[in-house]
Symmetry: C2
Subunit: 373 residues, 2 copies
Amino acid sequence: MRFLKSASLFFLLSVLACNTSHLQAAASRRQTIISPEVHSDGRVTFRLNAPNAKSVGVNAQFARGVRPMTRNKSGLWSITLGPVEPEIYEYNFVVDGLQIVDPANSWQKMWIRTSKNLVEIPGKEPMFFQQQQVPHGTVHLHKYPSNSLGVTRGLYVYTPPGYETSENFPYPVLYLLHGMGDTEDAWTVVGRANFIADNLIATQKARPLVIVMPYGHTPSAPPDMRSLGNYAAFEKDLIEDVIPYVQKNYRVSKEQKDRAIVGLSMGGGQSLTIGLGNIDLFGWVGAFSSAVPKSPTIDDLLANAKVNNDKLNLLWIGCGDKDFLFQANLKLIAQLKNDNIKHVAYITEGGHEWRLWRIYLNELVPLLFRAGK
Amino acid sequence: MRFLKSASLFFLLSVLACNTSHLQAAASRRQTIISPEVHSDGRVTFRLNAPNAKSVGVNAQFARGVRPMTRNKSGLWSITLGPVEPEIYEYNFVVDGLQIVDPANSWQKMWIRTSKNLVEIPGKEPMFFQQQQVPHGTVHLHKYPSNSLGVTRGLYVYTPPGYETSENFPYPVLYLLHGMGDTEDAWTVVGRANFIADNLIATQKARPLVIVMPYGHTPSAPPDMRSLGNYAAFEKDLIEDVIPYVQKNYRVSKEQKDRAIVGLSMGGGQSLTIGLGNIDLFGWVGAFSSAVPKSPTIDDLLANAKVNNDKLNLLWIGCGDKDFLFQANLKLIAQLKNDNIKHVAYITEGGHEWRLWRIYLNELVPLLFRAGK
């Protein structure tokens, strides 16, 4: 009996060992391509297995145009570019004229209806948007019922390091809005708002804060995402559903002086519309590379800002000089000056791009929720 | 002066309107392809714009082989398949022999080094893994310092509906482990553990619980992810870092009777190894389509389970009859019977696939944390 049991166990172990090897072999066959491979000197190698393709190239944000890749005899295409300045870059592959994402890279910029890959080139010193050796906050993914829109929607919330166990509440809260091509995950997946906040808090450049990242499109918007100019439904959702939900579930302040609204592009238009239209709710307003509101008109909004200028602690406008919205933002800034509305204009080089929005957030957050502003 | 100001404002508004249209036009050019389009009768249409391609097909989990798509004169390829049984399916496109993901679908199964698209076919009645009209829990994304591994790692935590404001604590906690091709997001993005728990809790089939989803690979594992058989480092991380972190930051019970460990495939091997090796910590152990442990041997683990069988509230083994690990699991079950170790064997049709792991989780969670088991 003892012998039989051992024999049976031996057989069992043989089968298991065999099966485990099977799993390993399957993994090995499937998982041999590393792309992108970032080298310590800042060069980066892209690879794609495409034996039947006639031409393969990489379209990287840091290079000009599509750079042709070279095929080896087994059909693996590759190219090494750089060294490249430290930054997060977009790229994709172009195979016989077709743009595709890199199947070996799971980090992608998810647009609502398309996607690009991302690659991060680290600096010798850690950069402000990178995950550093500091305490990290938590990103919370909610599904909340929007009664005003009649649907359940996604919502991301960042809480600062130590929030779960801290007695330092209530926290001030920043409502941070995404752009037209984004969803509620964009400010963390691409914008790195969580790491930017972690790093600012660790160096005591910013007050610990809660960051709420709602979904800015509304069901009435068509699939091509033209929520532009249709801000009223989102404003209702934000004020009647999101803010009460956040205030119920998080230890955040309910005071105007502790509530900010900031957004990029379409979200900048929303933050100007909702922020300047509700200065009793928002003490701090920011707009990055912003679309400028149409309804209510910027005229009406600025009139409200002028009347309530003492309550508006900060109006912060950032834009790059190559942005297609640059002239519009210059006009807005001129108007603010003309109307004697307190504001900060932060003009930089650059276009309509995430690189700048990360920089702007890093500049703006330290200014928020400071007494005497 | 008044006139000038109005004129200036008129000009400003014109520019802004123009720029907003620019943004809309850009969106319109970019965003015209809907893929996949799920029809109300369960059919699904796939579309890909590939004017230069010679052949385009879709490789969908619900169809046999690659189904050729049809090109229209502008170069848009499409096919409508089904009706299809309600389920979440994987698919990808094959363009001139190259497998690519659908650029219009941001829902992807992210493997560590590759990805596939997902499409959900809803049923006439909502299915157990679908987002339903019930209260939703929250998914928390952490970056925690693993002192045992010397790195900062990702960690997902699900809290049940009402956790933020409830007084019903401490909660029982399930440690839920992913497979070899996964990362810590797999049990939510693909496995729908959050919605499965929401639905079970709403219908009072399961006790409200916290679900912790750690990252199961360790830095010593090579890029092809062969963490198989290298469970010791993960066990140390889980017990010395993850569990204390969770117990510090969440209102969870610290008792063995309120702690479960469950995993799929490689994670099943880990849950057997760690769970049966630490019955003083885990009162409930589950293994789905599981790799079977090698070190310590299953022999040693079962010996420990036999000695501590009265403390092991549940040992749950699930496997599909077409899984390449099926024979190994049958052997394990035979061994459990032979050793008189209490267990539940849940054999189903099917292979090594997420469809089954969602079903198994839905079967297992109602059994957890019940008195008298």
